[in-house]
Symmetry: C3
Subunit: 203 residues, 3 copies
């Protein structure tokens, strides 16, 4: 059981590296291997590193454990080699990406609560863990960050993180909180994309 | 006396959250409630969190104390609900914003000197506390940061921070240093805006 | 021997401050003295501060030691006063810049290995130290970061950092590792610019 979150975390890191590498390889300007690797790396470590720096948890995962750097390298290589195949797998990738943000949000909330932070900050830190890598990726690529552009992406993370904190407050065991939180995040996002729901705009 | 800076700090946080939320709601693209809240949140915590991370002061204020997160939430809600009213109150908001940066600069200098940093770094950290939330806000919204665009904004912070450090060096009591520093910041900014002064450009 | 890296570090800081100040003074919008100083400052401290924050090494160099802030001030003033002369010295500046990134990369790798990080992370942190100031500079100026735009810049840093780690692994003394790493970085960059080599683009 102890090792399960570790492999989930490595898997999330690989998924984020792929999302960064694929975003960079979509842009003419960044399409050399350095631009792709760098963007993949920053996307993968951004959210988790920011969370741990804010929580003063050291050493950072990728600094402590070379497996994270290797996972990122693997994600970048897979993205570059199979990018034509991956372009046809958008639906599959969407599922993996949704899994990735669900896992990262919940791991972020757990880590924050363990560090003794207040529940509202734990919700924000969970959401940051999941979305901040993407925010840095888009800022580097000089695009409007995706979380501003599309759908219920980060709102789903906030909802799942809030559910976790609420259930935890009522003494529900962590495993149950985790599963409920992740199902809510994945559910909200899938339903929102399927039915093209978006947040109401101010007029 | 102990609690006074605490409430000032909460008040500054609320003001910064409003400035972020209003900036986001001015842009078509970010005008859903998530974009507005996220921008308000980052703007409010950006400067102080960066300062404390650089000074290695943990836990960060908003992680330790849920009141900061609540103040940010209040600032975002007020901005969204009253944004039509607020648009007519630009002059009042300008005063609050000026108060906000004055307070944040001086709190930042004090905190840095207490942490034992050198005086030049204390001046820079005071200025960062006040302006960096805004820099991140503008970078996220993909605009040229305000501190590059307009008036004597950050220069006023530098002047006030320098005055604080100078008076402190000559043994002036902290309360007097604080008041002098804040008056100088607010004064420089108000005079500069009133008489449309700007820094000389290189030709 | 102890002081040599210290002066190298100060020299690198001054060079980075000049590179930031000159980049800002090239843009109409940022050409007042605040924009130039701020950009110079952020460029100079960005890479090293990020590295030390990630490694949890405190206090940061420029917070501990006012000489760094003075070196940055000197770099900014030299850039502003002599910018017409400097515009004619592009070749000389290129040499200094190349020296700067070589030194910063190797110092970053050494500091990381000393802090006990894994070798892959040490390579990444060495590269970050050298290039991240520039990434922040370009993001602030709302330009596509240079490391995405041009030549073999960061790849040279990666190559030199990797060589250092490899030689170190085989027990080669640090001085020899350093010199080999720096020569490789400078060599790769100079050859690449001289012969207009660039990384292969994906098609």
């Amino acid at each position: 059981m102890l090792h399960f979150p570790y492999y989930l975390d490595l898997f999330g890191t690989l998924m984020f590296a792929m999302s960064g590498a694929l975003a960079a390889s979509d842009q003419k300007m960044h399409r050399d291997w350095f631009g792709i690797s760098f963007t993949g790396f920053i996307t993968a470590i951004g959210g988790g590193s920011l969370r741990d720096i804010m929580l003063d948890i050291h050493p950072l995962a990728w600094i402590r454990d070379a497996h994270y750097v290797i996972a990122i390298g693997a994600g970048v290589i897979v993205s570059v080699v199979f990018r034509n195949v991956l372009a046809k797998l958008r639906r599959t990738l969407f599922i993996f990406d949704t899994l990735g943000i669900s896992v990262y949000t919940i791991l972020g909330v757990q880590k924050s609560l363990l560090a003794g932070v207040n529940p509202l900050a734990a919700i924000m830190l969970g959401m940051f863990s999941a979305v901040f890598g993407g925010v840095i990726r888009d800022t580097l690529l000089n695009e409007t960050p995706l979380i501003f552009r599309k759908e219920i992406y980060a709102t789903a993370c906030l909802a799942g993180a809030s559910l976790y904190v609420l259930l935890d407050y009522f003494g529900v065991p962590p495993q149950v909180c985790s599963v409920c939180g992740m199902v809510l995040i994945a559910g909200v996002r899938i339903v929102a994309v399927r039915y093209k729901l978006s947040l109401p705009k101010l007029d």
